[in-house]
């Protein structure tokens, strides 16, 4: 046991947030308090970033008409994704996909778009061979918000069903910036007990053991 370990109750709280966090798509149409949104954004900003690059940018959507335009972009890509699933898999699978709720953009209390900043080429530290580490940093920031939202009793959903060029244009992003997430935050009637894609029977989860190897890509002994 490390002398820096949190108390048993505090440790349990961290593990609880990790275990109970869900990718939510069902929201109650209620607002989120400003100070809560500020706490979530502060949590995001405390994320690690490669070479202290802090590549995250957040666009808060407060205009109702813009929210509808974003919803339309997602709806267009949802249809394109369905067709692709029909081609890669089966038409039955396509129909199953079309029955899933994949976003709660119009209902959620707060809508944010998360993006990678522009002028990323100048950051070499930790990115010379892995330039995509900027996305890793923004993802850590989003995971911070997801866990903080769960502790606040709020749901969050990460929507990645959109064309990034179309969304960048809609939000007047400069060259080099790239939207990577439409984030829905909101009060919920209840949290899914399991990931929604498991609850709906879309997919079953694989056990951790299948993801672990030792000293090379071969099963853990």
């Amino acid at each position: 046991m490390s002398r820096y370990a949190y108390s048993p109750q505090d440790r349990a709280a961290v593990y609880r947030a990790i275990a109970e966090r869900r990718d939510m798509r069902h929201f109650l149409p209620l607002p989120i308090a400003t100070e809560v949104l500020e706490r979530l954004l502060t949590a995001a900003h405390q994320a690690p970033s490669v070479g202290l690059m802090q590549p995250w940018r957040f666009i808060r959507i407060t205009e109702r008409s813009l929210r509808h335009e974003i919803h339309s972009l997602v709806e267009k890509e949802r249809i394109r994704t369905a067709k692709a699933i029909g081609e890669y898999e089966t038409t039955a699978r396509m129909a199953e996909f079309l029955r899933l709720k994949v976003e709660g953009i119009l209902d959620c209390g707060e809508l944010l778009v998360a993006a990678l900043c522009d002028n990323r080429d100048q950051h070499v530290f930790g990115r010379r061979t892995l330039p995509e580490m900027d996305l890793a940093s923004v993802s850590c920031a989003i995971q911070n918000m997801w866990l903080a939202a769960r502790a606040e009793g709020l749901g969050m959903g990460w929507v990645s069903i959109f064309d990034p060029l179309e969304l960048a244009q809609l939000l007047k992003m400069p060259n080099g910036a790239k939207p990577i997430a439409i984030l829905c935050f909101g009060h919920v009637d209840s949290f899914y007990r399991e990931p929604m894609l498991v609850e709906t029977g879309w997919k079953s989860a694989q056990p951790l053991e299948d993801m672990l190897f030792e000293n090379g890509w071969k099963p853990h002994s």
Copy 2:
């Protein structure tokens, strides 16, 4: 206030882990208890993933010689990165980079390599226009581990200074799989009070306000 909100103490614990997490490079040469490592990996496996893809794979490094080979790969790339910084910025900056400690691979108690799985092309859900969402999912898994480690009183460092092809070859990864992180876990003498790159004067952090926009890429009013 949501009726699903955690108690004030539990909420504070989640925010504390988020605020106190650091990218550590200084470790004490002490082992990590097996049950703690299992809790960290379980936390990783509870991460969200695009279309429930669960693209994360973790290779635990237990052979000392392999640890040294991984360290050598990082050392090679550290020199290449220094040269690139010398070209992009100044030779003074290159010298400054070379004085930084960028990893604790040989000292840490546990060494894991995190990778993206092979056969990722078959996953279309949420990735048709943003195939890099698999990296986002693995990054969320790593952030879970980072926060859990902090609550356990342990440090974690994410090293991305390596050539992914060389590391994939060393660890016998199949085509399509890609290493994205060398993760050092360990006991620490103390946690950095601020990010090490701030403490050493390498870079100053930018405030959250600079990262926020409203309804488009223009300053938050």
